[in-house]
């Protein structure tokens, strides 16, 4: 059976170029970058070059890039350690109801320590209102953490606008860009971002590597202490092969490629909606089809069909899609994002699936998926109808 992978927001396969780069690094240049001998210096050179490539990709300075073990570590470090280091200035934090669990759980931990968190609501398209943000901002706000793009619907948050509003405010501005990195142009200077989290395995890079961008002069306590790697901000022998693989993945997505992907994925969305329309399926889009949002994620409400039925059906037919996000570790709990958009009793919460495209996705795969989706929906609804009828 053919397997079609449409769950790229959960993780992506590594690009062959990335595997080649990593294999080469592991097989030949295996030094510890802290060693002073030849192998150590070679490792250091690879580390420096990779850091430069990555810094350029978000218009940051090289020494503002801290390599971490991934998005969760970047988020935990950015949020918890910034809050702890700045608590003398206030204990108020602003975030949204639809962040990734790595952000929400970090905030819950801070609440248990006495911090106060305002979770901004979202509208029915999963966007926050700037007016709500302005109203929530207080003199004692020390941290604002808002994701750049949502992992379940692709909704893009007004990062540049928030950054501008915080220009003359003490609050440190963090954005979780795990889903947006590689799809949206990011300029930490223009957008006034102080901290930014990414993860390599979402952009065809290796797992367990990511970076945290931290603006020069920012005050936070390191999460991982030990040797003096990463300017004392993240200890541990540097994972050079993974870092080099990450940098390779970044070089594969230049400005043109990024824009191409957004427009390619947008076409996929239209392809699916046109197929559903043509087949007369009753559905809704959770989020928007607007080109401003992240195009790789598509969240579809298939009216009357439970999520788990669709998921199982599609899986048996060879299609990997998701019921929500992968990152509530295998749980079948209702999506906190859809709940925030519609309320917990809304049918969308129980009848939606997430489809996410990747660099390797083809129009043929999307066509096959649409066909299968239509068939699954129709056959379920027909069975239900006959049950009710009989």
């Amino acid at each position: 059976m053919e397997h079609i992978y449409l769950d790229n927001a959960a993780t992506t396969p590594m690009a062959p170029e990335v595997i080649a780069e990593m294999t080469d690094q592991m097989a030949h240049d295996f030094g510890n970058a802290s060693s002073t001998h030849y192998f150590g210096r070679t490792a250091r050179a690879v580390l420096d070059e990779s850091r430069h490539i990555i810094a350029q990709s978000i218009h940051a300075k090289d020494d503002e890039i801290i390599f971490t073990s991934g998005g969760s570590e970047s988020d935990n470090t950015a949020i918890v350690q910034t809050a702890l280091a700045n608590q003398a200035k206030g204990k108020h934090i602003i975030s949204t109801q639809v962040e990734h669990p790595a952000v929400l759980k970090s905030l819950a931990y801070l609440e248990s320590l006495g911090f106060e968190v305002t979770y901004l609501p979202v509208d029915k398209t999963n966007h926050i209102a700037l007016a709500d943000f302005k109203a929530a901002l207080r003199p004692d706000t020390i941290l604002v953490t808002v994701m750049m793009g949502n992992n379940e619907t692709g909704a893009r948050m007004p990062i540049q606008e928030i950054g501008a509003l915080l220009q003359n405010h003490q609050a440190v501005f963090h954005t979780d860009a795990v889903q947006a990195y590689g799809l949206l142009p990011i300029d930490v200077e223009k957008m006034h971002i102080d901290l930014l989290s990414t993860s390599a395995h979402k952009i065809n890079g290796p797992k367990f590597i990511g970076f945290l961008y931290a603006r020069t002069g920012l005050n936070f306590m390191p999460l991982v202490k030990g040797g003096e790697q990463e300017h004392k901000r993240r200890a541990g022998t540097e994972n050079i092969p993974a870092i080099a693989g990450f940098a390779k993945a970044v070089t594969l997505i230049d400005d043109t490629e990024r824009a191409n992907r957004q427009s390619k994925y947008h076409q996929f969305k239209l392809q699916i909606t046109q197929a559903l329309d043509a087949a007369g399926i009753d559905y809704g889009i959770n989020g928007t089809l607007a080109t401003d949002d992240l195009q790789h994620v598509m969240n579809i409400w298939l009216k009357g069909v439970p999520t788990n039925v669709l998921q199982m059906n599609l899986d048996l037919a060879g299609f990997a899609i998701s019921g929500g996000s992968a990152c509530t570790a295998g749980s079948l709990e209702p999506s906190h994002v859809l709940t925030a958009m519609y309320g917990s009793d809304a049918p969308q919460v129980a009848e939606s699936i997430r489809v996410s495209f990747g660099a390797q996705t083809t129009p043929e795969e999307v066509a096959k998926f649409s066909e299968q989706l239509i068939q699954s929906v129709k056959s379920y609804l027909t069975k239900q109808k006959s049950k009710i009828g009989g």
């Binding site: 001998h37 991982v224 202490k225 200890a235």
Partner: protein, 382 residues
């Protein structure tokens, strides 16, 4: 090329690299995903966990994957501190621990914890009696490494365990990063140990992956929060390819472990014998079963460690000053300092660290190079 710096990092094994690539290509899914691609990745993840647990003779639910030794140490130390703070804020460690331990302790000091850094004797060993005297009613954690990374001294883990038998509520953590694959199972299987830290790249597994043994029912606060992976103890999408590769590397390093450790000990013994023939030499890693078979720390008196390292490097032989983590700073070794070694001697220390692939032929080439370097500096300083 002779690579004698295996305590800093080891070269990945070819078949381990193949495992990494194969899993990356064929089982790239997110183990938390509910579809088949995710389930396949999850199967690999759980099989790897089972294999590692079997090789370590522990339960699979006692194995947690981390990004490496540094994270493992940080988690166990800070996770214990946060979990047990209501019962006490005193921790015992030693002056010769790895920076991942020492700097975690320093961070806890700033948060109001009190740390006792036990001294070591002139040979580099913690005294269990001193440790017993340091225990207080509010002691919550004892963290002592198995094998010192700079001189290879095997710490008296059983004796410390014996002391701790009377204090069942104290967490006992052992940083075992340098102890893996060196035929020290008898030490690591000490039943009183609650937590062990391991790092993959020290035994031919990839970088950026490691594991922690955490005894069932011993409670820790989670280190990274988020999606709830690793039973909510360590969030973050699991690095399935690296984990599978590490399981393989562990199996390989554990195969014929005794034989391979004996071979390294034989090389070390040969090196010690040859090097000690020169008068201006000080050997810190003795040839007895209190020292690991793979680490040899010595000084050529009067010559700075970095100078010796670079002299060997010119001959395509790679060794290090005492540890990779301190070499950049050009600082003297913290272990030798704790042993009371005079500064000038400590500054001239270098470390040779072996693995199972090093050969006696390499050792002979090393000794020949050593003689040239020794005589060169002897003339220079005569």
């Amino acid at each position: 090329m002779i690579y004698f710096d295996n305590s800093a990092t080891t070269k990945i094994d070819d078949s381990v690299l193949q495992t990494y690539v194969k899993v990356s290509q064929s089982f790239f899914g997110n183990p938390s995903s509910l579809h088949r691609v995710g389930e396949q990745a999850n199967t690999i993840l759980q099989q790897s966990r089972q294999q590692i647990a079997d090789l370590m003779h522990v339960l699979p639910e006692e194995i947690y994957f981390t990004s490496g030794g540094t994270e493992g140490d940080n988690w166990i130390i800070k996770g214990t501190a946060m979990e047990k703070a209501p019962f006490g804020k005193h921790i015992i460690t030693s002056q010769i621990e790895h920076p991942a331990v020492i700097n975690s302790m320093k961070q806890l000091e700033r948060l109001g914890f009190e740390i006792t850094y036990l001294p070591v004797d002139h040979a580099g060993f913690v005294n269990p009696k001193t440790l017993a005297q340091a225990i207080r009613p509010d002691t919550i954690l004892v963290s002592i490494m198995a094998v010192n990374n700079e001189i290879g001294a095997i710490q008296p883990i059983h004796e410390i365990a014996h002391v701790l038998a009377d204090y069942p509520s104290i967490h006992f953590h052992v940083d075992a990063v340098q102890a893996i694959g060196k035929n020290l199972d008898q030490l690591l299987h000490e039943p009183r140990i609650d937590f062990l830290t391991f790092s993959g790249h020290k035994f031919h597994a990839p970088r950026g992956i490691g594991f922690v043994y955490a005894k069932k029912h011993r409670l820790l606060q989670p280190y990274m929060t988020g999606g709830g992976q690793e039973k909510d103890m360590r969030s973050g999408t699991e690095n399935t390819p690296a984990i599978a590769a590490m399981a393989r590397a562990l199996r390989l390093v554990k195969t014929d472990e005794a034989k391979k450790a004996a071979a390294q000990a034989a090389i070390k013994k040969y090196l010690v014998t040859e090097i000690s023939k020169m008068p201006n030499i000080r050997i810190f890693s003795q040839m007895n079963d209190q020292f690991a078979p793979h680490i040899l720390c010595f000084s050529i008196l009067g010559v700075r460690g970095e100078t010796i390292v670079h002299a060997f490097e010119d001959k395509d032989i790679y060794i290090s000053t005492t540890s990779a983590c301190s070499s950049k700073k050009g600082e003297e070794s913290s272990t030798l300092k704790a042993m009371g070694t005079p500064k000038t001697i400590a500054e001239s220390a270098v470390r040779v660290s072996l693995d199972e692939h090093n050969t006696m032929a390499e050792a002979r080439d090393f000794v020949a190079a050593f003689h040239e370097i020794y005589h060169h500096f002897e003339k220079l300083y005569a």
